[in-house]
């Protein structure tokens, strides 16, 4: 047990917790004013719901030594998850500290999907869908990549802080739900504008701040690797913010706040799997290029194909996540992390193929199971609010509240 490591992991846990409210504002600012409370509510509801599910059975399913598919139920109610370190996951911090750190990842992942179906999903159905998704998609995928005996971990796939588990996983689920729930009403002619860009900027700032815990905390120790992850994270976010703004400057004549914020988040997504495996030049290239791919996905591909990924959960998290996972296979070096592997540019082309396989497995599994779960809930409860409720907004119709008064 190490006091410094334990302190850093607990502080990182608190940082990652703050990302979910940050995401709530990031997304909340992008929706129309009649729907902001619904987005904040979905995020806060997930924070409460998944926090409870995680200690009851979620952590056990994801991390208990089990089959290759998922962990068992033997750690339910934190049975056997004590205050001593569990050496196979974190040799220097209490097992419960590792558990709660992972819990915050489990909270934010389903919250990321909200961006795809925002402004039109029935709240009760959203709750059921989230429980099912956490259990049957997040827990298994998390186990494969990080759990003892997980087959992607055994295969040697590199995912430092959750590019595959969190971002590709949620991002592909976002595309599937956006396709299945359908476009927002009247959105073909007039794409709804974001109602509060200052909230988007606030949310971006909170996400960026929390991401230090997400990535540097994933070193699970207060050491040089954590510092490397911290520096690569900040560098990639900054480079991606700049390059998104630059793309807009060239294409539209003016850089936008919304653009630089989107770019920064895309950079954070892309560096996530790589943060503890690449050096600063790797981080710069990852950051500079991710905005090109995500911009293309959100601004060119999405309108061309016509799916309504309302807040670009797929365009930023899945596309950025896949680039990050592949880039890890390109730029990883053992000079940064001896427990990692060398990538393509450091004489080990095989690593890139391993990364491709891990991405493909996640996309296929998460995509198919998300579709099945969505269809099941849709058949039983109906996923979408009525057209009338959609017009009036989810704040009033799903929660009987409104965010802004007109008079006083």
């Amino acid at each position: 047990m190490n006091a410094g490591d334990t302190a850093w992991v607990l502080v990182s846990t608190a940082l990652v917790m703050l990302m979910t409210p940050g995401l709530a504002f990031f997304y909340g600012g992008m929706v129309r004013r009649k729907n902001i409370l619904s987005v904040l509510m979905q995020c806060f509801f997930i924070l409460c719901l998944v926090s409870v599910l995680w200690v009851v059975y979620g952590y056990s399913l994801a991390f208990a030594p089990g089959t290759g598919f998922w962990g068992g139920f033997q750690w339910s109610m934190l049975n056997g998850v004590g205050l001593e370190p569990y050496n196979d996951y974190s040799a220097t911090v209490p097992h419960q500290a590792f558990m709660i750190f992972q819990g915050m990842f489990a909270v934010i992942t389903p919250a990321l999907i909200i961006g795809a179906f925002a402004e039109r999903m029935k709240f009760s159905s959203f709750v059921i869908f989230t429980v099912l998704w956490l259990t049957l998609v997040y827990a298994p995928v998390c186990h494969w990549v990080w759990g003892l005996g997980g087959f992607l971990r055994t295969m040697g796939a590199l995912d430092f802080a959750g590019g595959t588990v969190v971002h590709i996983n949620a991002g592909i689920a976002a595309l599937v739900t956006a396709l299945m729930i359908g476009r927002r009403k009247n959105s073909e002619k007039h794409i709804p504008s974001p109602h509060n860009l200052p909230f988007v900027a606030l949310g971006t700032a909170l996400l960026w701040f929390g991401w230090y815990g997400f990535n540097a905390g994933s070193a699970l120790a207060a050491n040089g690797l954590a510092a490397n992850a911290f520096v690569t994270t900040n560098t990639a976010a900054a480079a991606a913010g700049l390059s998104w703004a630059l793309i807009e400057w060239i294409r539209n004549g003016k850089p936008t706040l919304f653009g630089i914020a989107s770019g920064a988040v895309a950079g954070l997504v892309a560096i996530t799997p790589a943060a503890g495996f690449v050096n600063i030049s790797g981080a710069l290239i990852i950051g500079l290029l991710v905005s090109v791919f995500c911009y293309f996905a959100a601004v060119v591909i999405k309108p061309a194909l016509g799916y309504d990924d309302a807040l670009d959960a797929f365009g930023v998290h899945c596309v950025g996540g896949i680039w990050g996972a592949l880039a890890t296979g390109l730029f990883a070096t053992k000079l940064v992390n001896s427990a990692g592997a060398d990538g393509f540019f450091y004489g080990n082309p095989a690593q890139l193929m391993i990364q491709v396989k891990a991405v493909a497995v996640t996309v296929v599994y998460s995509g198919i199971v998300t579709a099945v779960l969505f269809k099941a809930v849709d058949l039983v409860l109906g996923m979408r609010v009525s057209p009338k409720e959609e017009d009036m907004g989810l704040d009033l119709t799903q929660h009987h509240e409104r965010a802004y008064t007109v008079l006083e």
Partner: protein, 113 residues
Amino acid sequence: MKMVIAIIQPSRLDDVKEELYKADVHLITVSEVLGHGRQKGITEVYRGAKEMGNLLRKVRVEIAVNDNFVEPAVKAIVKGAKTGETGDGKIFILPMEQCIRIRTEERGSIAIG
């Protein structure tokens, strides 16, 4: 000269604007208002405190037009705002005494367009 005032659903504003442009009516003023007619307001709840029959958000569109533009403007508003549901709104047409363009101090019909 008439003043056309329409109270419509906020979500129909984009379509109403589009129809008005098509009808060559470009000068409009829009404001956000609260109200309800036959459509009852929705009950809101804040920490258990119920607010019954609260007013709903509507959009008010004001257009000053010359007489020959009244019917095209009305048709455009109906086309953009009508869903067939309760709460689609109303259009009021009022006589207008005078219209003055501040920049040039022109008066009457010429000042409208």
